[in-house]
Symmetry: C2
Subunit: 122 residues, 2 copies
DNA sequence: TGGCTTTTTGGCTATATTGCCAAATATATA
DNA sequence: TATATATTTGGCAATATAGCCAAAAAGCCA
């Protein structure tokens, strides 16, 4: 992998990593529904304000959200709503794997880890 | 956030987190181009075999890839190619932010961190 | 100014991730 | 059976992430 390519992969991965946390995923969906300030999000998420603030800063650093001060609060909104389209594909992945799991159970009963050589010593 | 919702966000975030690493992103693209075994990927990535193997295991655990043994090797391929569609949106995010950065420079010169109260003591 | 409210930052601990090496495992082949 | 090849696992050290509390910032209003 050449350096230039590696940098590109890093930039892309950084955005996915920023999205890869349940609270941040919740925030992304929520601020798409309507602009929200830290306070509101904190109440919805049910964590410390500082925790939510840091999650927002991760999202902002990744360029996923835009913040705008209005009145006494800072409102966050989604930069590129196309990221919401990821979800249907993610659900496909989850569903596909749920089905795979079902198949294993149907064919072979409760799936069990295969015996390894080490097991023979037990 | 109720428990049931939280579980769903965790499941989704887990998939994004699995994708959120440069090497794994590379692997995802590469095995879409053509099935690859660990050996081949190791050479392309330029890391230890065990490192690549663990990355593949993260992807497999997230249900993103399917492995199939054929001959002496194990070939990996993409489970749900729709994940590749994420990239164009990710590029939009990157481009949007590059432009934002340009605007700041054009308007206001080289952007500088604003002075904080703490700076006054220096 | 002094006291609110809203948000961010610093600092800390706990936990998770990454990447390497060495070793184990699995399988094919001489 | 012994050896070689392909892959995974265990263990370790370095680094990163998450979440809380306390405190700092920043701005509003009496």
């Amino acid at each position: 992998m050449e350096q230039k390519l590696a940098t590109q992969y890093e930039a892309r991965a950084n955005i996915l990593k920023a999205m890869g946390h349940p609270t941040r995923l919740f925030i992304i969906e929520e601020i798409n529904r309507a602009e929200r300030c830290v306070n509101e999000l904190t109440e919805m998420v049910g964590a410390d304000v500082s925790t939510v603030s840091k999650h927002l800063s991760v999202l902002k650093n990744a360029g996923l959200v835009i913040d705008e001060k209005r009145g006494t609060s800072i409102y966050y909104r989604l930069c590129c709503p196309c990221v919401l389209d990821f979800i249907s594909c993610i659900e496909t992945v989850l569903k596909t794997n749920a089905e795979k799991q079902m198949d294993i159970v149907q064919c072979c009963g409760i799936p069990v880890a295969p015996r390894t050589r080490a097991d023979s010593n037990k």
